[in-house]
Structure formats: C-alpha cells, structure tokens
C-alpha cells in the first residue's frame, strides 16, 4: 500500500497556526506512507494537478488530504483522484482547518494535534475498500406540500416545466397567508388581485393534481422513489357535486362557527366556503359547530343543496401517490397573542393582531373593508401599532426578527389614513428594518406623507380606561415615558414555525432548528436544499420571509427539482449499511431501530433468518450498525474496523 499525504496551507488559514512542513515530515515516517508534501492551496487547479501527478509519479494508491472540512472539498478531491484512476473512496480528509487551525493559537499544540489527525486519516485510508455506486430510475413527479404563495409558485414552475405535480394543502383552499392580506407592500397592490390568477392557474393546470383539505400521513422511500400517503380529511360535502353556489352557507342556522380564514375576527357559518375567490370553491362542514353533528338533527344544508352534495357520513380517505422529489412549503404560524400578558393577551377586544387588522381592512373581509373596533363597531380615530410583539424577545423564546412586520405596519398605517382621513396612527418600534427594494422609501412615506407618528421604544403595558385603551411605553429618543389613549391597538405578533412543523420534519427526515424552522443544506450556497437529498424548501417554513423572497424560493426549489429530473437515472451512495450474513444472528434489532425502514427480514437458502438492507432506501445514518450486537451490519466506508484503526492510531501516538 502506498499512501500519499497532502497537507494544505489554505493560505495562512492553516499555515498560520500549524507547522505544515513538520506535519508532512511526521506523516512521511508512518509505515505505508510513500509520499508526503505540503502545498499552498491544494484545492486549486495546480494543487489538484500536483495530486494527480504524484499518483502517477509515486505510484500512489491511497490519498490523504489534510485541509478543510470534508463538507467543503471532499467531493473535489474525490473527483481529483478518480481522474487519476483511483477509486474515489480511497480518499480520506483530515480536517485540520475548522478542527484545529481555527480554534487554537498555540502553534506547537496545533501541530501536534494536526499530526494526530493526519495519522488517523492515514490509518483509516489504509482500511478503506473500493466502493461503487449503483444507479436507479427516478419517478419524475413532484410533491409540493403547502399551497401558499411559495408552494403554488413551485408547483406552477414545475408544472410549466412539464412535470406532474401533486399539491397538498391542509386548509380547504390554496392561497395561504397571502390570500388573507389586503394590500401588499411597497406597491399597495391588492393581494388577492395578484394572487388570484395564480390560484386559478393552480386549480386549472392539467399537470397539477390538487389535494385541498388534505394532510401528509406518511412518507416512505427515497430520492427518486417516494410513496406518499395523503389523508383527505372529511369535508362532509361531495366536492365532485358541489358547485360552490353558496346556498348552504346562506341558509345554515349555525352562525357562530370560528372563522379560521378570518382569524376569528367575526364568526362564520358551520358550512362555509372560506372566501369568495377560494380555489377550490367548495363548501365544507365544521363538525365542531354543525347542529347535525352536535345535536343529531338539522339537515338544512342537505335539504337546500341543489346537487345533493351533502354527506354527513363522509369519512377521511387515504390516497397513495408516488413521486420522485418533494418541495416543502408549509409556511409559518403566528405567535399566540395570549403569551403577551403585558398587552392583555386576548382579554381586550380592541387589542388585535396584525393579521386580524388585515382582515378588517380587506374589502372581502367580515366588515367589508370598514375599520371598526371589535368591541362596539365604532370607527377608531387613534390607532397604535406595536411592532416586535414577541419578536426579538429572548424571554419568550423568539430572539429573531420576524422580518416583514416593520413593512406591513407602515402599510397598515398608510391604509388606515386612506380609510379614515381624520385618524392618527402611532407606531412603537425598536428599529425599522426595511432593507428591500423600495422598502425604506415606503416606511418614510408612511411617516412623511401619511403622518404616522413613529415612536422609538417599547410598549410596557396596555390597559383599558373607559372605552379607550391606554398604551404606555417609552420614547427612547426623547428619553420620556409616553401614554397614548388609543381606540384600537394592533400588535405585530411574531412569526413562528407552523403548527406541526417538527412532526412534518420527522416524516421527511429533514432537520429543524430550535425554533422549528427547517434547516437548509448550506445557509448561503444551498438555500433551498435540505440535507436529505430529494427534499427542497420553499418559503417561510425555512424562516420568516416576505412575499418576494417566498416566491423567489418557490421558483428556486422548482429549478432544483427540474434539474434533478433532467437525468433519467440517479446514482446511489455506496456508503450504506451492509449485512454480513455469516455473522448475522437474525435478532432483527436493526430492523426495529432503522429510522428509514431500510431493513427487511430475509431468509437464506439454508433457512437462516437474516437482516437485509434495501440499498436505495438506506441513508447511511449508522443507527443499525451501533445497534447490531455482533457487528454483522456494517456501514460501508465507516466500518467498525475502519473507525477502530483511527482510534488505535491516535492511542499509539
């Protein structure tokens, strides 16, 4: 065995705090090492040529590169040695940059540690086996989870690119949060007017199969070949027959149902179509409020429905779809106002959230666009907006900025002035965050042209006094306390992860951060990919985002799916679990612990019961290998012996 060792300087990144020449010299002394050198930038083209030349010249068969994290350049160097004729798994990287050079300043100690790391990599590479990828076919259909603006954009772009799309939306209509907004910043164009055509396209596109009021029950499989179980929740209305005429909604006697679409601003009927532009425009019964379900008699809708679509006996239905890639666009949720006790929680009817105010402004909202106080339906004259209601507040677990609130508050202040010319808006803010195109000009316009009073400071308390709400806060620019007698208070509640985000992540095997937002593969360079290949992210499920960013990410995710599907075959990673059937005792512990259901029971010709790994399903996580008591199941490229050789190397130094 002839190992070649290449120590990278990474400019001064590594060479600054590690004596690279000494590391190379020490490596040369290790048995099996035929060649060791150090180089300024090993990842550069001349650096890679150096490796290729050395393989030929020195007849090397295993390569160790001591440089940065393998996440950075492992692929680069694998390709390099492959071009020189070696199996690409005959490469090991020792991470002497992130793990060593960047974390300590003591050159002597760093150098010792780097020598340890390199000797481990040498021990490992000598145990490496040549591995070969296999290829498999892909199913060129895509699942989009979530029918908000990001999901719809991804679905439309994929469908326009010729792919069959399965779009699953958990509420009865697509559109998401954007469908509930009145106008959009900074151009003040009507939200539903620009979104409506997209929603219609989604509903009518021959390549898009829309499952509204449905949820993902189970996801099985792997990139290229997923089996998805979708739960079509019971609507108690046969959507094949429902024409969306709205007669049932008109006659329904149960008038006090919670209106999810309007965030409870006003009640709705137990059978309802969420909003006039809904796609699909179909009615649905809320069994929590329907008299037929609660009292067992009523049946008004069934009698009135001209097409006989009502079916009180309807049950949830599970359908299976097969796809090759998944775009996750599950959006975000809003902080529960009840947490904000200093602002009264939800005790005061005239303290509402930004999205509720949006519904009051909206011409198709419950007040037909007339701004009214929820308490006495009078027109408010003094309106206070409180930004960062929960956002940037470590104490309630939301240390981050929700991003879009500064902008929508400015928009709502402008619209308020439009609706009620003699009104006065006050905005309490911490900082104005408006870094988009035309955004800062917009917030200035709210102040300069529409006379919104911006007060830099936080609100400490909101309490009622007669018919008014007293908003007490600080004006940090004047250095005084301020109290405003308001008719209506609007809280810009923080954007949080969507309900059930964590459970969804577990179904998808993707990671999520401490706040429940999904984690992209690389924060800068792979913003729509996840670490699970075949699963892509779009929109606010990855973090709070405004409409332009969500749409951009939706298109980006679609581009990723289209480029993935431009190939007919995919290569599987050979670094997966493999069973040594001679050693396997058939206890099948591995089968029970595998998070990917990649292991099945198999019977050998001798009748012996053993475990078997489904190659394409295995993600190479290694849970089975640490579960197997006799070491019969081994993760290729990370076998027990390979890891033990690293341990031995470091213990013998």
């Amino acid at each position: 065995m002839r190992v070649g060792v290449f120590i990278c300087h990474c400019g001064s990144n590594i060479a600054g705090t590690v004596d690279v020449a000494r590391v190379a010299a020490e490596a040369r002394k290790i048995p099996g090492v035929a060649f060791a050198t150090n180089y300024m930038y090993t990842c550069s083209e001349p650096g890679q040529d150096e490796i290729k030349a050395a393989i030929k010249r020195e007849n090397l068969d295993r390569i160790v590169v001591a440089a940065c994290s393998p996440r950075m350049h492992e692929n680069t160097f694998r390709k390099t040695i492959q071009k020189a004729g070696l199996n690409k798994y005959f490469l090991e990287m020792a991470n002497i940059r992130e793990h060593i050079a960047w974390i300590g300043n003591d050159k002597e100690l760093n150098t010792e540690k780097a020598i340890d790391a390199v000797s481990m990599a040498i021990a490992k590479v000598m145990q490496n086996k040549p591995l070969h990828a296999t290829s498999f076919k892909i199913n060129k259909r895509v699942l989009v989870i979530g029918g908000g603006v990001a999901g719809m954009q991804a679905a439309l772009d994929c469908a326009d690119g010729g792919l069959d799309v399965v779009l699953v939306e958990k509420s009865p209509a697509v559109g998401g949060i954007m469908a509930r907004l009145d106008k959009t910043f900074p151009t003040i164009d009507c939200s539903i007017c620009i979104l409506g055509p997209k929603m219609v396209d989604v509903g009518q596109h021959e390549k898009i199969k829309l499952f509204a009021y449905s949820e993902i029950e189970e996801i099985k499989g792997y990139i290229g070949n997923y089996q998805i179980k979708i739960r079509k929740k019971a609507t108690y209305v046969d959507w094949e027959k429902c024409t969306g005429c709205g007669l049932c909604m008109e006659k329904c006697p149960s008038k006090n149902s919670y209106d999810y679409f309007n965030f409870g601003v006003a009640p709705t009927k137990a059978i309802n179509i969420p909003f006039p532009q809904a796609i699909p425009k179909k009615a649905k019964i809320d069994p929590n409020y329907c008299r037929q379900f609660l009292k067992g008699k009523c049946g008004v809708c069934a009698k009135i429905c001209p097409t006989g679509a009502i079916n009180y006996e309807m049950k949830d239905e599970i359908v299976t779809e097969e796809v090759g890639a998944i775009v996750v666009a599950t959006g975000y949720g809003l902080l529960d106002q009840n947490i904000l006790t200093e602002y009264g929680g939800t005790r005061y009817p005239d303290v509402i959230s930004g999205i509720q105010y949006e519904r009051l402004l909206n011409a198709s909202g419950p007040t037909s666009g007339h701004i009214e106080r929820p308490s006495d339906h009078t027109e408010p004259k003094t309106i206070v907006f409180v930004s960062c209601a929960g956002s940037r507040d470590k104490s309630i677990g939301v240390p981050y900025c929700s991003g879009f609130c500064c902008m929508y508050i400015a928009k709502q202040a402008i619209l308020t002035k439009d609706h009620i010319p003699d009104s006065q808006s006050y905005v309490f803010y911490m900082d104005i965050r408006s870094p988009g195109k035309g955004y800062d000009e917009f917030t200035r316009r709210a102040q300069e042209e529409y006379g919104a009073q911006y007060i830099r400071g936080r609100v400490s308390k909101i309490y009622p006094k007669g018919k008014k709400m007293i908003v007490r806060g600080a004006d940090t620019l004047l250095g005084t306390q301020v109290e405003i007698e308001a008719d209506l208070v609007v809280l810009a509640t923080a954007a949080i992860a969507a309900e059930g985000a964590a459970e969804m992540a577990e179904k998808l095997h993707i990671s999520y951060d401490t706040f429940g937002f999904y984690v992209e593969s690389h924060p800068k360079l792979r913003p729509v990919e996840t670490n699970t290949s075949g699963v892509f992210l779009a929109g606010a499920c990855q973090g709070p985002k405004d409409i332009p960013s969500s749409v951009g990410q939706g298109s980006a995710a679609a581009a990723k799916v289209l480029s993935l599907f431009s190939r007919d075959m995919l290569e599987s990673d050979p670094a997966i679990a493999q069973v040594n059937t001679n050693a396997c005792v058939g206890c099948l512990k591995c089968l029970k612990t595998c998070p990917f259901q990649a292991i099945v029971e198999d019977t050998l010709r001798s009748g012996k019961k053993v475990a078997k790994v489904i190659e394409t399903v295995c993600a190479g996580c290694g849970v089975c290998t640490s579960t197997c008591p006799c070491g019969a199941i081994q993760l290729q490229h990370f076998t027990d012996n390979q890891l033990l050789s690293e341990v031995s190397a470091i213990c013998q130094m």
Partner: protein, 316 residues
Amino acid sequence: MSTEKLKEIILKVLPDVDTVIGWQEGFDKIHITPFFMKSPEDAEKAVWNSLCVQNLAAYLPSLKKKTAVIVKGCDSRTIVQYMQEGLIDRSNVVIIGIPCTGVVSVKKVLKAVDYQPIEDVKFSDEKIIIKTSKGEKTLAIADVCPDKCKTCQYPTPIVYDHLAGDPIESTKPAESVYEDIKEFEKKSLEERRDYFKNEFDKCIRCYACRNACPMCVCQDSCIAETRDPHWITQKLSSEEKMMFHMIHAVHLAGRCVECGECERVCPMDIPVAKLKKKINSEMKELFDYVPGVNPEDKPPMYTFNVEEAKIKEHKL
C-alpha cells in the same frame, strides 16, 4: 408447593409438546441439573425444590418444536423479554409456572460447609439441612439465597399457562431493588474504578457468563471473538477483560432480565451483573422501562425516536 402437583401438570401437557424442560437431581444431592422430559417415565424423575436454580427459559429461542418449560417468577421475565423482542413464538411454548419463595445459592452453601463433599440434603420449614462427613448443618434459606431473591418482586411468574401452586405476592419493597446500586454509587470514581479493575482482573475469559445469559443473542458470532470487526484481541490484559464486560453490559442495555445466571456461573466469583443492574436502573429512570415485565412493552433500545421525553436535545 408439592412436586406431585408439578408432575401432574407435566403429565397433562406432555402429549401436546415435544419436550418438557424441568429439573432433575444431579451428580450429588446439592446439584440439580436441567432435564429434558420426553415420556411419562421421565416425568417421574422431575424435581422441584430450592436448588432448582437454572433459568430454563434460556433454551427456548434455540428450540424449533413445541416445548413446555418450567419457570420460576424470575425466569418468566426472560420469556416476557423474548416475546417483546420477537425471539420466540408464544404459541409454540407452554409455560408451567411455579410460585417460588426463593432459591439457594450453591456457592454460599458450599462455603458454609467448608466445601466438604455433600452426603445428603433435606428441606424443612424454609431451612436447608446439609449432611457432610463432618455432621449436619442447618441453614436458613434466607441466609444462603442469591442476592436477587432478597429483593424479588415477582415470586409468581408473570406469564404462564399452568400454575403449580397458588400465586404469592412479593413482600419486598419495590425501592429495594436498586438499593445496592445506589449504595455503590456513593463511592468515589477512583474507588469504583479500582473495584471493577480488581474484579475484572480475575476474569479468565471463559465466557461462561455470556453463554449462560438468556439474552445474549449472538452466540458464535460474539464480537469478543471475531476479527471482523476486531473490537478486542485475545490478549489477557485487564483492558481487554474490562472491554469484554463493558460490551456485554452495553449489549444488555434495557434487556437484562436480572436472572443472575451470569453471576451464578462465574467460576471466579466476579460480580458481573452489577454493571447490567446499573444500566437497568438508568433505563428505569430515563425511559420508565423495566425489562421483561410486560409482553406488550417495546424495549427502548429497539426503537428510534428523534425525541425522547426525558432526554432534552431539541427545545421547541
């Protein structure tokens, strides 16, 4: 409980099964050995007394034909664990349970009579009377029982098809089970390390503990003896011995049914069950799980959950 009642049951189940596994007298009066009964004549030779120490359930996973097995309360936990792990087909096993008030540690008895050859053994009223060439010695069973009997929670088998006798309730407090572990943990890290080093240094690597363990599934593929993967060498160093016992303990995490067979068979008197008991106490703490008590339980190490209730990794 009389041996007669047990024989009655054996004769009743014999026609339905291939073998009934029980006990018979061994080479001397104090040693009882496992007994594989095939015929009514065999059944006549079956015995039951406080010397029936072996955990006969351990044979079950390797038997293909329908088998009946006689178990004490503690042994029945093995069967429950087998059911949880899918290692036996319950419909292929007939369980004859025996309510047991405690067995005798042969090691302790032999020590008490100074290792004299045993001429006769008699039982009377929770006492054991040993006759050697030097005379008779009467020992209270409670004084010479294995440690597991002192905190026994399951004197009556947890699962059975036939019960030879009337069920009995445990009189030992549940908290007492892990008292010895808690006591041991009060020692300093150094003391504990030295203790285990000394104890495991006695190990001759005969693997009797592993071979007697009913929950050891690997049999001839034990990684203590394989080259691939090569976790430990055959060297007789204390590191290798320690490593072997650690591996056995970790392989039993959340699976050890505390039958104590490992300690019973150890020729060097090493307290090999201690590590396993410690892990069991942790399993109870972390997962509220006790191995081998409920056939419907799912062993925590046989599942994969991203979140565990008592292990805080993600905070949401």
